[in-house]
C-alpha cells in the first residue's frame, strides 16, 4: 500500500490518465469532452452489463465441466484484451513512455512496479468483469467460495506479461521492416475469423473438432488451469502450474522491461544504416530519379520528392502492403464461399480487391494532400511554384502508385490461381482508373478544406477527422453510380462494348471534374493558406 501512496507513483498514474483524457478529448475542449464522456458512459455501461451478466449467469450453471469451459473462455478473452490494449495505447501515443522518466529520480525497481500498475489501470474493464465473474462463482452452488482467489495470480500474470509484451513490441516496432510486418500481422488477425468462418462453416466445426481435436495434446494454458481451480477442481499440480505461469510472466516482464530501459533507439538506427545494402540504395535512387527523367521541372522535381517521401514513410508502406494482402483476405471469403460457382463474386474478385485497395490508399495518397507531409506544406507557399502544379505532382504520384498497386493485386490474384476470366484484368484497370480520377478531384478539394496533421512515421495511428468521414459517406455512393451504370449497360446489352463505352464516358466526366476541381482546390489552397498552416501545426508538434 505504501507504494501506492507514494506521490511519484500517483503523479505518474495521474499523468497517464490525463494523457489519455487530453488525447481523446483534444485537450478537454468543447465537443471533444462531451463525446468523451458519452463514449465513456456507453463503454463502461457495457462493461458493467457484462460484469452483471457474469455475476448472474454463472450461478445458473449446474455442471462443473460447463462452468470450467465458460470461465476458461472468459479468461482467455480477458487475457487477449489485456495484452492488446497496452500495445494499442502505445501505438496511438496515449501511453506514458516510462523511458522518459529515466531522467528523474525514480528508482529503477519502482519503475517496473509503476509499469505493472499502469497496465492494471489501462485494463480496468477486465478487472470489473472479473469482479462480476468472482461474485458469480461465489454465488455458484457447485463452485467453492474460495475459487475466485485464483483470479489473483491470473491477474498478476497478465499484468506482468503485458508489461513485457509492450516493451518487446516497442523495440520491435522501432526496427524498419519488422515494424511493418508486426503491424500487418496484427491487422491480418482481425480478418482471419471471417476467413475461417467462410472456409469452415460452423456446422462442420464439430466434425473437425472430433477429427483433429483429440490429437491436440492437452496443455495447461493459464486461463484453463485458473478456470479449473476457480471451479473447484483443486489439485497440487494445477496450483503449481498457475504459479509457474506467474513466475514465467514475472521473469519475462521484468527482463523485457529492463531491456527496454537500457535500449538505445539511436544505436539500432545506426546499425540498420550500416547494414543497409548499397545496391538496393542505388536501385531505389534510380527509381526516385525516374520522374525527373520523364517530366520537366518543377513538376519532375516535385514528383521525385513525393516518390522519396512516400517510399520512406512507414505509414504509406504499410497501407500499400495492406492493399494487396489485407484487401485480398477481406474479399477472399466471398470467392471461397458463395462464389465457387462460375460467375458471381469470384469472377469479380480482381475488380473488388483493386477498388478496395484504391479506397485504402486514399488516406495516404489523396484525401489529405498537405497533411501527410505537412512539414513540406509551408515550403509550397514560399517557393516560386504554382499550387496547382504541386497538386498535379501529388496526383501524378498517386496515380502511379495506384496503378502499381493494381498491378501487384493482379499478380497476387494470378499467383493464387483464383479462377476468373482474364478479361477482368483490363476491366479492373479501367474501373479503378476512372474511380481514381474522380477520387483525386474530390481529394484535392477535401485536402484544402479539411487539412489535418498526420505523422507519416506512425504506422497505426488513427488520423481521419470526423468531417472527412462524413464527406466520404456521401461521396462513395455517388462515385459508385457510373460503375453501376457500366455493369448495368453490359447486362442490358450483353456486350463489353457497352460496358467500356459507359466507363469511357465516365472517364471523360471524371477528367472534366478533375480539371474544374483542380482550379478550385488551388484557389482554396491560396485563400485558406493561414487556416491550412494553422490546422497542420496542431496535434503532433509544430510545422518544422
Amino acid at each position: 500500500m505504501g507504494f501506492l501512496l507514494n506521490d511519484q507513483v500517483r503523479a505518474i498514474v495521474q499523468a497517464q490518465f490525463k494523457g489519455i483524457y487530453n488525447k481523446t478529448t483534444h485537450g478537454g475542449k468543447g465537443s471533444g469532452r462531451v463525446f468523451y464522456w458519452i463514449s465513456m458512459v456507453l463503454w463502461y455501461g457495457g462493461v458493467l452489463f457484462l460484469a452483471w451478466l457474469a455475476a448472474t449467469a454463472l450461478p445458473e450453471i449446474r455442471s462443473r465441466d460447463t462452468l470450467t469451459k465458460v470461465v476458461s473462455g472468459g479468461l482467455l478473452a480477458a487475457m487477449l484484451f489485456w495484452q492488446f490494449i497496452p500495445v494499442m495505447l502505445a501505438t496511438t501515443g496515449m501511453s506514458l513512455d516510462l523511458k522518459r522518466l529515466l531522467v528523474y529520480p525514480v528508482a529503477p525497481k519502482r519503475l517496473f512496479a509503476i509499469e505493472v500498475l499502469l497496465r492494471a489501470s489501462t485494463g480496468t474493464e477486465v478487472l470489473i468483469i472479473m469482479l462480476g465473474a468472482a461474485i458469480g462463482l461465489i454465488r455458484s452452488p457447485i463452485a467453492p467460495a474460495w475459487g475466485p482467489l485464483f483470479f489473483i495470480p491470473f491477474t498478476l500474470c497478465n499484468l506482468l506479461l503485458s508489461a513485457g509484451v509492450r516493451d518487446l513490441l516497442t523495440r520491435l516496432l522501432a526496427r524498419r521492416g519488422v515494424r511493418e510486418v508486426v503491424i500487418f500481422g496484427f491487422v491480418l488477425m482481425t480478418a482471419l475469423p471471417q476467413l475461417i468462418l467462410s472456409m469452415v462453416p460452423p456446422d462442420k466445426w464439430k466434425n473437425y473438432y472430433e477429427l483433429y481435436g483429440g490429437r491436440i495434446p492437452p496443455f495447461p494454458w493459464p486461463w484453463h488451469i485458473t478456470a479449473r481451480l476457480a471451479a473447484g477442481d483443486f489439485t497440487l499440480d494445477l496450483l503449481a502450474a498457475a504459479f509457474g505461469w506467474l513466475a514465467l510472466a514475472a521473469w519475462f516482464g521484468y527482463t523485457q522491461f529492463q531491456r527496454g530501459l537500457s535500449w538505445d533507439a539511436d544505436a539500432v538506427k545506426a546499425s540498420q544504416r550500416a547494414t543497409s545494402s548499397k545496391t538496393a540504395a542505388a536501385g531505389m535512387e534510380s527509381f526516385y530519379r525516374l520522374p525527373s527523367r520523364l517530366l520537366p521541372d518543377p513538376l519532375g522535381a516535385l514528383v521525385e520528392k513525393e516518390f522519396r517521401m512516400l517510399c520512406r514513410a512507414p505509414r504509406f508502406r504499410l497501407v500499400f502492403f495492406m492493399g494487396f494482402s489485407f484487401g485480398l483476405v477481406i474479399w477472399l471469403p466471398l470467392v471461397l464461399g458463395r462464389g465457387r460457382a462460375p460467375g458471381g463474386f469470384s469472377d469479380n474478385i480482381l475488380v473488388m480487391v483493386s477498388m478496395y485497395a484504391v479506397l485504402l490508399l486514399g488516406e495516404v495518397l489523396f484525401w489529405n494532400n498537405f497533411g501527410f507531409d505537412r512539414t513540406a506544406a509551408q515550403a509550397y507557399y514560399v517557393m516560386p511554384v504554382k499550387l496547382s502544379t504541386v497538386l498535379i505532382a501529388k496526383n501524378i504520384t498517386a496515380v502511379f502508385f495506384l496503378l502499381l498497386e493494381i498491378t501487384i493485386v493482379t499478380v497476387v490474384v494470378l499467383a493464387l490461381r483464383l479462377k476468373f476470366p482474364l478479361s477482368k484484368i483490363p476491366e479492373a484497370f479501367a474501373v479503378t482508373l476512372m474511380l481514381s480520377v474522380f477520387l483525386l478531384a474530390i481529394g484535392n478539394l477535401a485536402s484544402m478544406h479539411y487539412p489535418r496533421p498526420i505523422d507519416p512515421n506512425n504506422s497505426w495511428r488513427h488520423s481521419n477527422a470526423g468531417k472527412i468521414q462524413g464527406v466520404l459517406l456521401l461521396v462513395y455512393p455517388v462515385l459508385a453510380l457510373p460503375i453501376a451504370l457500366a455493369y448495368l449497360a453490359r447486362y442490358a446489352f450483353s456486350t463489353d462494348l457497352a460496358f467500356y463505352g459507359v466507363i469511357g464516358a465516365g472517364f471523360v466526366v471524371a477528367v472534366l471534374t478533375y480539371l474544374v476541381s483542380l482550379e478550385s482546390a488551388a484557389t482554396a489552397a491560396d485563400e485558406r493558406r493561414e487556416a491550412i498552416l494553422t490546422a497542420l501545426s496542431r496535434g503532433e508538434g509544430p510545422i518544422a
Partner: protein
C-alpha cells in the same frame, strides 16, 4: 539583474538527500575517457572533461560532433560504451538516483509529454522530484507566469511552438532548484524577451552556487554567459579553457571555433555563379 521567484532560501542553505550543498569538494562533472559507439562509428571518442562547481560551462561543437550524445549520457538516457562519469561526487550509473535528484534538464524535444498541458507537465516534474503536490502546484503557477505560459490554458504541449516548448522545459528544469543544470540548446526558437529572461535566471542561479552545462550553436550567447568553454569535434575535446584563454588577442570565440574545428575548404568565392 537578480530574479527572485519562489520563496526559497539561497541554494547554500538548502539541505539535500546527500547532505548540505557544497559539503563536497568534488567537481560538478568529471568525465574520463568516455566513449559511445553506434555501429562502427564512435559518436563520442575518449572524452575527458572536468567542470568545477559554480561554473557556467559552454559545451560547443559543430553538428554531429557528439554534444547531444554526451549530454544524453550525462542525463543517464544513453549508456556509455566505456569510460566513467562522475556528477556532483556521485558515480553514474551506480548512484544515478542521487545525481538525478540534483540536476535540472532542458533536454531535446523528445522528453516532453505532448499530451499534457504545460501546467500539468511542470507540476508532474515537480512531483517527480518529490516536492509534493501542493508545492509543485504553487511553483508551477509561479513559473508559468514567469515564462508567460500561463495564458496557454488547456493547450497541449504537442501544440506548442518550438520556443514555447523550450520555455516549458526550462520551467520544469527550475522547479526543484537543482545544483546542476544540463541544458541542450535551451534558447533554440525562443524569442529575444524569453531568451533574456532565461539568461538572467541562469546567471542568477550561478551566482547562488549552481553549475550550468550548456550546449549552444549561438556563440555570442556562449561568449556572453560562459566563463569556461570546451569544444568537441568528432567525439573528442579539442579545446578546453577559460573564455579569456579562448579569446586571446583580437580573436573572438567564433574565430577560435572556426579555426580549431576547421572551416570549410572552399569559400563562397569559389562558386562563380554565387
Amino acid at each position: 539583474m537578480a530574479i527572485f521567484f519562489f520563496t526559497l532560501p539561497p541554494l547554500s542553505q538548502i539541505a539535500t538527500i546527500e547532505g548540505p550543498v557544497h559539503a563536497e569538494s568534488s567537481p560538478a562533472i568529471e568525465v574520463r575517457e568516455l566513449r559511445k559507439v553506434y555501429g562502427e562509428k564512435a559518436a563520442v571518442d575518449g572524452l575527458t572533461l572536468r567542470v568545477e562547481r559554480g561554473c557556467f560551462f559552454g559545451f560547443l561543437g559543430p553538428n554531429g560532433a557528439g554534444k547531444t550524445t554526451t549530454i544524453r549520457m550525462l542525463m543517464g538516457l544513453a549508456p556509455a560504451s566505456s569510460g566513467s562519469i562522475e556528477i556532483l561526487g556521485h558515480r553514474m550509473p551506480a548512484e544515478s538516483l542521487s545525481i538525478k535528484s540534483k540536476i535540472g534538464l532542458v533536454p531535446d524535444d523528445t522528453l516532453l509529454f505532448d499530451h499534457l498541458t504545460g501546467a500539468e507537465f511542470v507540476e508532474f516534474v515537480g512531483r517527480m522530484y518529490n516536492l509534493g503536490r501542493e508545492l509543485s502546484r504553487s511553483r508551477t503557477a509561479e513559473l508559468l507566469e514567469l515564462f508567460e505560459l500561463d495564458g496557454a490554458g488547456r493547450k497541449l504541449i504537442g501544440e506548442y511552438s518550438k520556443g514555447m516548448r523550450k520555455r516549458v522545459a526550462m520551467a520544469a528544469a527550475l522547479i526543484h532548484r537543482p545544483e546542476l543544470y544540463l541544458l541542450d540548446e535551451p534558447f533554440e526558437g525562443v524569442d529575444a524577451v524569453g531568451a533574456r529572461l532565461m539568461k538572467d535566471i541562469l546567471l542568477d542561479q550561478v551566482r547562488h552556487g549552481a553549475t550550468i552545462f550548456l550546449t549552444s550553436h549561438v556563440l555570442e550567447v556562449v561568449e556572453r554567459l560562459c566563463d569556461r568553454v570546451a569544444i568537441i569535434n568528432q567525439g573528442r575535446i579539442i579545446v578546453d579553457g577559460t573564455m579569456d584563454e579562448l579569446r586571446s588577442g583580437t580573436e573572438t570565440l567564433e574565430d577560435t571555433f572556426v579555426r580549431v574545428v576547421g572551416g570549410p575548404a572552399h569559400s563562397s568565392e569559389s562558386l562563380d555563379w554565387l
